[in-house]
């Protein structure tokens, strides 16, 4: 592509200078006619778009630009899930519920302000465990109140099992919480009993099917109450093979009927060393392709979320990354003042960039439709954000997977890998792991790749190239697709201009 190479990453790497960001914005100029155009997808109502456009978890598009952070302030919980073990506490693990430190609301405020000053992409503050944000409500509320006084434009987001939510839904609405995530794994209490050994509700512990029935009723009530107040609801479900995998089709239908805006099906994570009930009893999680098959089946129900990273409950940064360890309590300043300038400048830059990106994406869709090919192609991309191919193969901790087909280029998920190259060395064993993680993928696009890993990938039937370094993801994938499946209309192969 001929437009100036524009890397968001360069803008936000420390130390961040607002002037530099602004200068970059000027220099980028307005190369296309899209300047100021909105990135809103056509089928989405304006008010919904306003709520999600800067939320990395609610909008696949926004997750390229905006960052979230979670604070673990509400550790008490009112139910037990067979996939959770609250005794487990680890700095190196990445999965929901895992944290290395619990915070008081005051400590959380200090942490959020520190991050807001240093990570201009920050747009969302979430409370997502360990524990339940609505059950441990006083701490959740104290944290949200304090942070929104300091940083009024930050979006507040909470995750809950829904059992206690009806008791606090009016306060949630008053506090301007735009989004709530409810984890719903079943609508049939018989199935629920296999997932939840007990709940604690109205001063009593319930077990078995009775517990699951109460939980189910409260979850459905939660959805309805949230919908009536105009709060967007995302439903998370954990896919547990042999227990609720087929059943999630019913869950999808129920939650859609009650107005859930997004359905996020996450794979069960259960290793014996996590010490969870499922981990200890050998309940396995689904493979990436099993998960994709279920998600494909669910398509057409409540809209599916495919970019969830199952973040740690104290994660900080863009979705594919976790900078949590840079902001542990001992590294926070004792006194801190919020400085909005970097976040404001970043927003200006992004508004411009994402308009371009969207126009580019729409062009790709039109071009793929025009091709008239019927095949689909799975492509993995190494990216650091900004919607571009801008990560080295060897540095990637995950690949974002897209499916190109007659309808355009759609995001279908991500695959986590151990970085192939740590400190300059490529480890063969790690490369095997990367190849295994890329099951089903035919093409890998990255900013740079060495000959060695390239050949190994080729031997495994995966083509890798850095030809599209720094291009927009969709444009590059469209070009690869056209090259492979484009009919020769004239003598020249159909070309896509990026």
């Amino acid at each position: 592509m001929s437009s100036p190479v524009f890397s968001l990453e360069a803008l936000v790497s420390a130390p961040i200078s607002v002037d530099a960001m602004r200068a970059k914005l000027q220099e980028g100029g307005c190369s296309s006619t899209s300047c100021g155009s909105s990135a809103k997808p056509d089928e989405m109502p304006e008010d919904v778009w306003d709520k999600i456009k800067d939320h990395p978890c609610y909008s696949e598009e926004a997750h390229h630009y905006f960052a979230r952070m979670h604070v673990a302030v509400a550790p008490a919980c009112n139910i037990q899930c067979n996939y959770c073990n609250r005794k487990y506490d680890c700095a190196n693990e990445s999965r929901p519920g895992v944290v290395s430190e619990k915070l008081t609301p005051d400590q959380a405020l200090r942490k959020v302000v520190t991050v807001a000053n240093e990570v201009p992409q920050l747009s969302v503050l979430g409370i997502a465990g360990p524990g339940d944000s609505c059950y441990d409500w006083k701490k959740t509320k104290a944290t949200f109140d304090a942070v929104s006084r300091e940083i009024p434009d930050i979006k507040l987001c909470l995750s809950t099992n829904g059992l206690a939510l009806p008791d606090h839904v009016d306060e949630i609405a008053e506090m301007n919480v735009d989004h709530v995530t409810v984890t719903i794994n079943m609508v049939d209490p018989e199935i629920g009993a296999k997932i939840y050994p007990w709940i604690f509700h109205q001063h009593k512990r319930y077990t078995g099917v009775e517990a699951a029935r109460i939980l189910h009723e409260r979850q459905m009530l939660s959805l309805e109450m949230l919908r009536d107040r105009g709060i967007l609801v995302k439903v998370n479900s954990v896919m547990i093979p042999g227990i609720n995998d087929e059943h999630l089709l019913d869950v999808n239908a129920w939650v859609k009927e009650r107005g859930a805006f997004l359905h996020n099906v996450m794979p069960l994570i259960s290793a014996p060393e996590h010490g969870t009930h499922f981990g200890l009893t050998g309940q396995r999680g689904p493979t990436a392709m099993e998960l994709k098959a279920l998600q494909d089946k669910l398509e057409g129900g409540a809209k599916l979320m495919r970019h969830c990273r199952q973040c740690r409950a104290d994660a900080v940064g863009l979705l594919g990354e976790d900078r949590g360890q840079e902001f542990t309590l001992d590294q926070l300043p004792a006194q801190i003042r919020y400085d909005p300038s970097k976040r404001a400048a970043y927003r200006e830059v992004v508004a411009h960039e994402r308009g371009d990106h969207q126009v580019n994406k729409q062009a790709v869709v039109a071009q793929l439709r025009a091709l008239g090919a019927e095949q689909t192609l799975l492509v993995a991309v190494a990216t650091k954000g900004g919607g571009r191919i801008n990560e080295h193969f060897g540095h990637a901790k995950e690949f974002q997977v897209y499916e190109a087909g007659p309808g355009g280029v759609t995001f279908v998920g991500h695959r986590k890998v151990d970085s192939y190259c740590l400190g300059g060395f490529g480890e063969d064993a790690t490369l095997d792991g990367v190849i295994a993680a890329l099951e089903g993928v035919e093409v890998v696009l990255c900013a740079k790749i060495g000959d060695c890993p390239k050949e190994s990938l080729e031997a495994a039937g995966i083509r890798a190239t850095d030809r599209y370094a720094l291009d927009y993801i969709e444009a590059a994938i469209g070009a690869v697709y056209a090259e492979q499946f484009g009919r020769r209309v004239t003598d020249a192969p159909l070309m896509l201009s990026a």
Binding site: P75, A76, R86, G131, D136, K138, F200
Partner: protein, 68 residues
């Protein structure tokens, strides 16, 4: 009579603290303790000791052996 918390098993989640109707549970250093003078075993208040009912770890809020 009173309940006590087995500190080595406790996850310090704090659920017991805010369920206790008598304010008998508080943090001492890094652990939660039950004040035996305040604990009534929830007798007359609830069907079961609230701390034990809400605690996620089995056998962590248990009856203290009666003082000899």
């Amino acid at each position: 009579m009173a309940l006590k918390i087995i500190a080595s098993q406790c996850t310090v989640c704090g659920a017991c603290e805010f369920e206790c109707p008598n304010g008998a549970i508080r943090m001492k250093g890094d652990i939660y303790i039950v004040d035996p003078k305040k604990c009534t075993e929830c007798d007359g208040q609830f069907d079961e000791p609230q701390c034990a009912a809400v605690c996620p770890v089995p056998n962590t809020c248990v009856k203290a052996a009666p003082a000899a």
